[in-house]
């Protein structure tokens, strides 16, 4: 396999990871910790929003992120023809 293909694939991988980790950071550290008090001003049902993110919401988003990453990487590997 030639070098350019490997490097282009790696670049796309890194940029995908960075995008997903930004979301990862925002829902957990952002919503669940740093802006907890501000978001707690918003309620739905019995939940305060910040509290919900810290104890429920962030976890749901994490699951989605990992599956999205796996799916996108599969497509990426097909595109560069380096899948197994």
């Amino acid at each position: 396999m030639n070098r350019e293909v490997a490097e282009a694939y790696w670049k796309e991988n890194i940029s995908l990871i960075l995008k997903l980790l930004v979301i990862w950071f925002i829902v957990s550290y952002g919503f669940g910790i740093i802006f907890l008090d501000e978001l707690n001003a918003i309620t739905f049902g019995g939940f305060k929003l910040g509290f919900w993110f810290a104890q429920q919401g962030a976890i749901y988003v994490f699951v989605v992120l990992v599956f999205v990453y796996a799916k996108k990487m599969e497509a990426l590997e097909k595109k560069y023809d380096i899948h197994e």
């Binding site: 694939y9 990862w24 810290a54 990992v66 796996a70 197994e84």
Partner: protein, 627 residues
Amino acid sequence: MELQNLIYLFVGLSFALYIGIAIWARAGSTKEFYVAGGGVHPVLNGMATAADFLSAASFISLAGIISLKGSDGGAYLMGWTGGYVLLAMLLAPYLRKFGKFTVPDFVGDRYYSDLARTVAVVCVIFISFTYVAGQMRGVGIVFSRFLQVDINMGIYIGMGIVFVYAVLGGMKGVTYTQVAQYCVMLFAFTVPAIFLSLQVTESFLPQIGFGGTVAFEFDNGIKMIDSGNYLLHALDTSMTDLGFSAYTVSHDGTLNVFMLTAALMLGTAGLPHVIVRFFTTPTVRDARISAGWALMFLAIVYTQIPAVAGFARVNLLNNLQNVDYAKFVDGQIAGNDGAWFKNWENSGLIGWTDRNNDGKIQFGSGKAFEGQGKPIYINGNGSSGERMTSNSMPLHAKSAQEMRQNGEIINELYIDRDIIVLANPEIGGLPNWVIALMAAGGLAAALSTAAGLLLVISTSISHDLLGNVLMKDPVTGKSKLSEKAELLSARIAAVVAILVAGYLGIHPPGFVAQVVAFAFGLAAASFFPVIILGIFYKRMNKEGAIAGMLSGLIFTFGYIVYFVFMGGDKADYLWGIAPTGIGTIGMVLHFIVAIVVSKFTPAPPQEIQDLVENIRIPRGAGASHNH
């Protein structure tokens, strides 16, 4: 059927299942022993990973911790799940492509250094043993309470079971047993959670009921809380009434919650027994998907845990506050049989002292017992039949009536947080088979994690230390041990590890809980950065890696030892950061030192740079296991 017989039946059946699987999945080669032959289906591997990770601490203690800490408990939930996002994107696929057996394998090969390998082995062993001690205590608690055998006997039985499937089956036996154990745990956690959710909130799903309304009215000790109030609102009101801080409001401070969450997340992504799970899948693609399944299986349990914590708080208030002790434990109160209370009091994990002499239980903030807050029992019984203690807090002159008028509360109760989950079905008066299921689930959680850890320890000793350092042929660079000899040494190491773990369980160091912070902090400060740099920074060399690992480790180790074990003053905390979260700073330090040192030292050899390029590309992972 009698509760005791049901418990024996459920626990016995689950044990028979584990042993059956172990015999079916015996390991015949080192590859099967270390990585289950590298052929585990990603969904099954996800389940096994979840069982491995759901420890006695998660299953038994976490709901209790959250029910105590309220909002700040979110750090554990986010920390222990968020780490899997990092694993799936930053570690698992590349380590799978690298295709060897252990974390020290990667560190030693990538940094072309036996010193780096040896530092890694020492970390693996230290992290894993601290963790295993906690599991053995979990086994002991479940056995002593539910099977009414001596704690030590319980630990011997637990050791025997783990011995059978870890020593015989290696990773292959452990993996398939863990699949069964996950199913037992999931069932054992979810069934009571659904029952409780229906009972407390009338909603079927705990995750929804948590945000729903309370189905009954209850006395919080100061005032009645009407039914139809939102559960979390009722908790906030009750907690503040009783002198605690509000349930849904953070009080540890943003910085400390942030640091703890980060240390737990990075630690999770750096734990050797978790990482090694991703060596067992057939392909790189499977390693990524498998991390997703693992996280999903974990999320099913972790999203229920805070709900169960909330239900437990409400049930404790409803069933205990201002209840007549003698009638309660004697089963004379309709719909509120306190036999469970007496059982846990007998095992020393609940204590009650009638400080205002009204025969009724009151609880609120503050200590009921002097010193550590735990009851110290002496012979004899008090006037209501409670066990006598020698360290009760002073009597209180005012009657409960007077105090209630003044909005005051005293605390007469000690409840060990480790029993909240185990006692929950009994507190809620759920059917006997649900309680029996809980016992089997608690044991599955402790045994599955213990087995995973013991395996990592034995592999580190036989493969990394013996095979790749001590018995290495200086000419060929290969191990002088034959495959058969290495397999035998792995089994002997597993036996020794089990004996040491059993010893730690029977003579627990008095600081099991604090020691867990150690495991995560050290994993965050040592393995996480060294692996990330090894994959994403081609220029990283052995000098940088060794300097980084040592500085991260020594800093984190020193900080925890100084403040937790040597009585360091809280006022001296670095930027106010508690030892539990210091691994995050250790991690940052590791990164900085490693990068700076590597800038001033020679680049790694060409074949190492080629190795890094190779692990970044998925193709060829199947072949890389056959090295």
